[in-house]
Homo-oligomer: 182 residues x 2
């Protein structure tokens, strides 16, 4: 598996069921969301702005930049008053070898700041992503279980003492293929 193929296979609109586990409190959270993943052109305004703000990046090393938009509904709040959150993040992969590289995001998963991640692929095609934020370290794994179903597990650790704060798991079913020709 290489990053270009993984992103091409991920393009589309996905219905996601996500469960998170707060280990210290034995608390479950359930989140339903819709996630749209689409590739973006390196010459788009969004990408030009990003490159302008991050001058240290060699534009020629960027492969398959993409955008994620999500709308999530959690059961964390009471009944009719479910918490709804949404957001958009650009993700810019920089390939180091066929199996690993970096990904820059304009908005992080664990903290709402620009984030750098290291990624690599396991031999079974699982995509592994590690991100260090200010307070936390996130480790995510994403793997396809069929063409139209992905699983995603994540682990949040405290940067200070490496204690495990939370795990989560998402089952994502493709609702729409944006990319029929590939």
């Amino acid at each position: 598996m290489e990053i270009e193929l993984f992103i091409a296979q991920s393009e589309g609109v996905w219905k996601s069921m996500r469960s998170s586990h707060s280990l210290a409190f034995q608390q479950f959270e359930q989140i339903l969301s819709e996630i749209k993943i689409e590739s973006i052109n390196i010459d788009s305004t969004e990408m030009k702005n990003f490159i302008e703000r991050n001058k240290e990046i060699d534009k020629n090393k960027i492969v398959s930049p993409f955008k994620i938009h999500w709308e999530a509904e959690s059961d964390w709040e009471q009944d009719n008053n479910d918490a709804i959150s949404s957001g958009t993040s650009l993700l810019i992969p920089i390939k180091i070898s066929s199996k690993n590289g970096l990904i820059l995001r304009t908005l992080g998963y664990a903290e709402p700041i620009q984030a750098f991640s290291n990624y690599y692929f396991l031999e079974d095609g699982t995509f592994v992503l590690k991100t260090e934020y200010n307070q936390t370290i996130a480790e995510e794994k994403i793997w396809f279980v069929s063409k139209n179903v992905r699983c995603r597990s994540s682990l949040l650790k405290s940067s200070k003492n490496q204690g495990i704060l939370q795990t989560s798991f998402a089952s994502e079913v493709r609702k729409l293929n944006l990319n029929k020709k590939k």
Copy 2:
């Protein structure tokens, strides 16, 4: 990672938080359980009975047989009437190479019958287990995220059409170490 070490590291009593996702109905289920994993002696009565019933197995190829006992409480039933289930299964590994082999269980995970599984280890130490039952195929992955925290994901597919019926994810925190000396 090899099977003997994986089982030695797994011995103990674990508190498990498990979430399952029924993809077709977008239904969540939450299960809290306690799981006890302990090694058993090849010369124990349980093992002798098992070998007696399964004469095709070469006793000399068995490594690190163990027993799992679980007590689970699900939120599937209403409030005070939570469903509680419990069970015990013997698991008998038969090593083929350092990275793969078979596991026989007296009670299966997806169906309550004796089951044969194929296992192998990924390069990052993740234990992958595939089991074919009568109606379903189960694929499980178990990985340690620290000495005392394991994650376990599973996938249930229909044997008939390979359709994905359910995914689940468990976070397991060690409550008690049965095996201080190792």
